[in-house]
């Protein structure tokens, strides 16, 4: 036992002080959150100031286009040629020209002149307003009050409540994409740490130090110490990455998502009001959030995720899945002399994980499909598939059963791997085949 601890200690120390390891641990969360922040930033409208000069020959929009903090609107009635020539000298960033026939539509009925390209967000902002004004104009032309149309629109939102065995209900976030990300991360981590064990075993073998070590400890102890060492290392790395990510996302979300969170609060309060009073209250007084609804939905789903459950399951499945696969990787590492020879063994090991990954894409669409259930039970795929369906409300007994399968099979694979490992580490210069590995299982 004492010796296993020594081996674990060496394994951790040798990697922990490794420069690549430290850089990876710090850089990965920085990159991930940075990338997310970049995406969010990109999706938000551009904040360049736009001074728009409007030359409206239809008379439909005069005085009706709204500006905001970044967009200011002025109107003119000079000739188009003169305006095009002079708008930028008069400190306008662009010129919006509307033809008299805008209501009939068609290409070229409206043009935006500019010196510096206006962003897509700004274009959408202007176009949406114009479309709405034309829409309301047409309704009025047909003697329909636009408010009637607005009031008769109702958006329906399905709230998912899973009924459990006892007949009680619980609201589910059912955030399929989040589940998929979980599954993908699990896939990545198992391969990453599995390969770490593989390399560490192979390194000792090619270094030839292994013979010295197995004259002091049993090969099985060495293998187990190595596997546990890398597992501890993985968990340390997890925690560091987790803390960095948490700090960064909190920081970034207060920076970027502050406005939207306040709006979400207002929206939720409003929904409460509607629930209480029905549609009798004056809707005119309500703020409109139509364009934000999708973002709200995602935020609400995220808020409903039970992160403690997800985190706990992630750790348990990671440990189980890692132990299961890394013992196989250790056996393979012992059987080959170089990384180049290892492909024929590694591919069949990664294959079932790939299957798990594909099943987890299915989980997004249909979390209760049969294949998803079985995928989350069979140890080869269960860590990945179970993580992908964790947010859709998995009964506790399924988790317990699948975890027991996983840990039992880990005992089996480790035992088999130990037998291969024992022989493999002392075999040199021989190209190993699957059949050979099978034979090693029966050596005394």
């Amino acid at each position: 036992m004492n010796k296993i601890i020594l081996i674990i200690g060496r394994e951790i120390k040798s990697k922990l002080y490794n420069r690549t390891f430290i850089i990876m641990t710090i850089l990965a969360p920085l990159l991930i959150t940075g990338f997310m922040a970049f995406l969010i930033r990109m999706s938000q409208s551009d904040k360049t100031e736009q001074r728009v000069l409007v030359l409206d020959e239809s008379g439909l929009f005069k005085g009706k286009l709204a500006g905001n903090d970044y967009v200011s609107i002025s109107y003119t009635s000079e000739s188009l040629d003169a305006a095009v020539e002079s708008f930028s000298d008069r400190q306008y960033t662009c010129l919006l020209w509307v033809s008299p026939t805008i209501v009939e539509g068609g290409a070229g009925a409206s043009k935006l002149f500019y010196r510096k390209s206006p962003g897509f967000g700004f274009q959408t902002y202007i176009r949406d307003q114009m479309e709405k004004l034309i829409y309301e104009y047409k309704l009025r032309a047909n003697n329909i009050d636009p408010d009637v149309i607005v009031n008769s629109k109702t958006s329906v939102k399905l709230i998912l409540e899973k009924v459990n065995e006892k007949g009680g209900t619980e609201e589910q976030s059912n955030f399929g994409f989040f589940g998929f990300i979980n599954g993908a991360l699990m896939f990545m981590f198992i391969i990453m740490y599995g390969m770490m064990v593989f390399r560490s075993v192979m390194e000792e073998k090619t270094n030839r130090i292994v013979e010295v070590i197995v004259s002091s400890v049993k090969p099985f102890q060495l293998m187990l110490g190595k596997i546990i060492g890398v597992a501890v290392l993985g968990i340390i790395q997890f925690l560091i990455m987790g803390v960095i990510t948490l700090v960064l996302t909190t920081l970034l979300s207060t920076l970027f998502l502050k406005d939207i969170k306040i709006q979400l609060k207002a929206f939720e309060a409003q929904q409460e009001l509607v629930k209480k009073h029905g549609t009798n209250i004056n809707l005119q007084n309500l703020e409109k959030f139509d364009d934000k609804l999708q973002v709200f939905e995602v935020l609400q789903k995220i808020e409903k995720i039970d992160f403690t459950e997800v985190f706990l399951c992630f750790i348990l499945y990671f440990v189980g899945g890692y132990l299961f696969y890394s013992s196989i990787m250790a056996a393979i590492g012992s059987a080959v002399d170089s990384e180049a020879d290892s492909q024929q063994f590694i591919t069949p090991v990664i294959l079932p994980m790939m299957v798990g990954y594909f099943i987890s894409t299915k989980t997004m669409i249909d979390p209760d499909a049969g294949i998803v259930f079985w995928g989350s039970m069979i140890p080869f795929t269960s860590p990945i598939v179970m993580m992908s369906r964790i947010t859709s409300g998995v009964p506790l007994w399924e988790i317990v059963l699948s975890l027991s399968f996983l840990f039992l099979s880990f005992v089996l694979t480790t035992w088999l791997a130990g037998k291969i490992y024992r022989t493999g580490i002392l075999m040199y210069g021989k190209k190993t085949s699957w059949r050979e590995l099978g034979r090693w299982l029966f050596y005394k």
């Binding site: 020594l6 130090i209 292994v210 010295v212 004259s215 002091s216 400890v217 040199y428 050596y443």
Partner: protein, 317 residues
């Protein structure tokens, strides 16, 4: 006295060949024991069994009369033929790690490490990584980790291969010193020169079987075949005549006026008879018995076993 190690009818089979076939011998305490044999004879298989890296299929190995068990691991030191160390680890970390795997406490391991590093004049190298060391330096480290836990039984597989002559001499002296301090050394080699110089006892393995065993002196005596070398000045013709009845000329060599003849005494002819015959007419410069070297015995035994005579390059140094 109870031998430190007793090998009893040990057999080991790998999937398609028999590595050891009913091998038995004893290793006396405080001796240097040579485990000899051509490549593939089963030496490494046997050494791995003694180190408990693998187990025998049948037979048993007794350490001080007890069947081998895991508590013996800490009393045995092993230097494998193919050696290696963790390249990225520092020398001190490495030595500490391997010493503690052999059951030494941190404190004890540190103390012994300093002793050996001082002895080999390597104190300045403790913080260096193995990959920064020269090959000779790495070999010294390798030797230190083999002996740091003061093993009662030291097993060295081809200890001199890869060592430069200076380091080889250093290791040779260390081996003798350890023996004098009470350790028993088994070393496997096909360098017969070092066998004659160091070993008290040997066992010769060939094709998975033990074919010869005993003390080096006795074996050489047993294999002597009445061959003498005589150097003289004088008439060669007359000398040959004098030989005629009792001895057979095997080889002759002449340089300037000095003749060197190698002869085998026939029947019951004694060396004195030969000397008496040639003394009156020739000036004798030297006369000695040629005792077969371990190398000759090795080659002779192995080729006899193989059913063929002649030299086999696999065991010449």
């Amino acid at each position: 006295m109870l031998p430190i190690l007793q090998i009893r009818q040990v057999s080991k089979r790998y999937s398609n060949h028999l590595a050891l076939n009913q091998v038995s011998f004893d290793v006396e305490e405080k001796s240097i024991f040579g485990l000899l044999g051509p490549n593939g004879a089963g030496k490494t298989s046997l050494i791995r069994i003694i180190n408990q890296i693998t187990g025998p299929d049948t037979g048993e190995v007794l350490f001080r009369g007890e069947k081998l068990n895991s508590s013996h691991v800490e009393r045995i030191g092993y230097l494998p033929e193919e050696r290696g160390l963790y390249k990225k680890m520092t020398v001190a970390d490495q030595v500490m790690y391997l010493a503690r795997l052999k059951g030494l406490s941190r404190k004890e391991a540190g103390k012994r490490m300093r002793y050996w590093f001082e002895k080999f004049d390597m104190q300045g190298w403790m913080k260096k990584k193995i990959e920064e060391l020269s090959k000779g330096m790495q070999q010294k480290v390798q030797f230190i980790v083999t002996v740091i836990h003061q093993p009662e039984l030291l097993i060295l597989d081809e200890p001199f291969s890869g060592f430069d002559p200076i380091n080889a001499q250093l290791i040779r002296n260390e081996i003798l010193e350890l023996r004098d301090q009470g350790a028993t050394v088994i070393f496997s080699t096909h360098n017969m020169g070092s066998v004659e110089e160091l070993c008290d006892q040997i066992a010769l393995l060939n094709k998975s079987e033990k074919i010869l065993e005993g003390s080096v002196k006795q074996i050489r005596k047993a294999y002597r075949s009445n061959i003498y070398r005589i150097a003289f000045r004088g008439n060669v013709m007359g000398f040959t005549h004098a030989l005629w009845a009792g001895a057979e000329l095997i080889e002759k060599h002449t340089e300037d006026d000095l003749n060197t003849f190698t002869v085998r005494m026939l029947n019951n002819t004694k060396p004195n008879h030969l000397l008496e015959a040639v003394l009156p007419s020739h000036e004798i410069v030297s006369f000695n018995e040629i005792i077969p070297s371990m190398n000759d015995i090795f080659i002779r035994k192995v080729s006899e076993e193989s059913g063929e005579f002649g030299t086999n390059n696999s065991f010449t140094e």
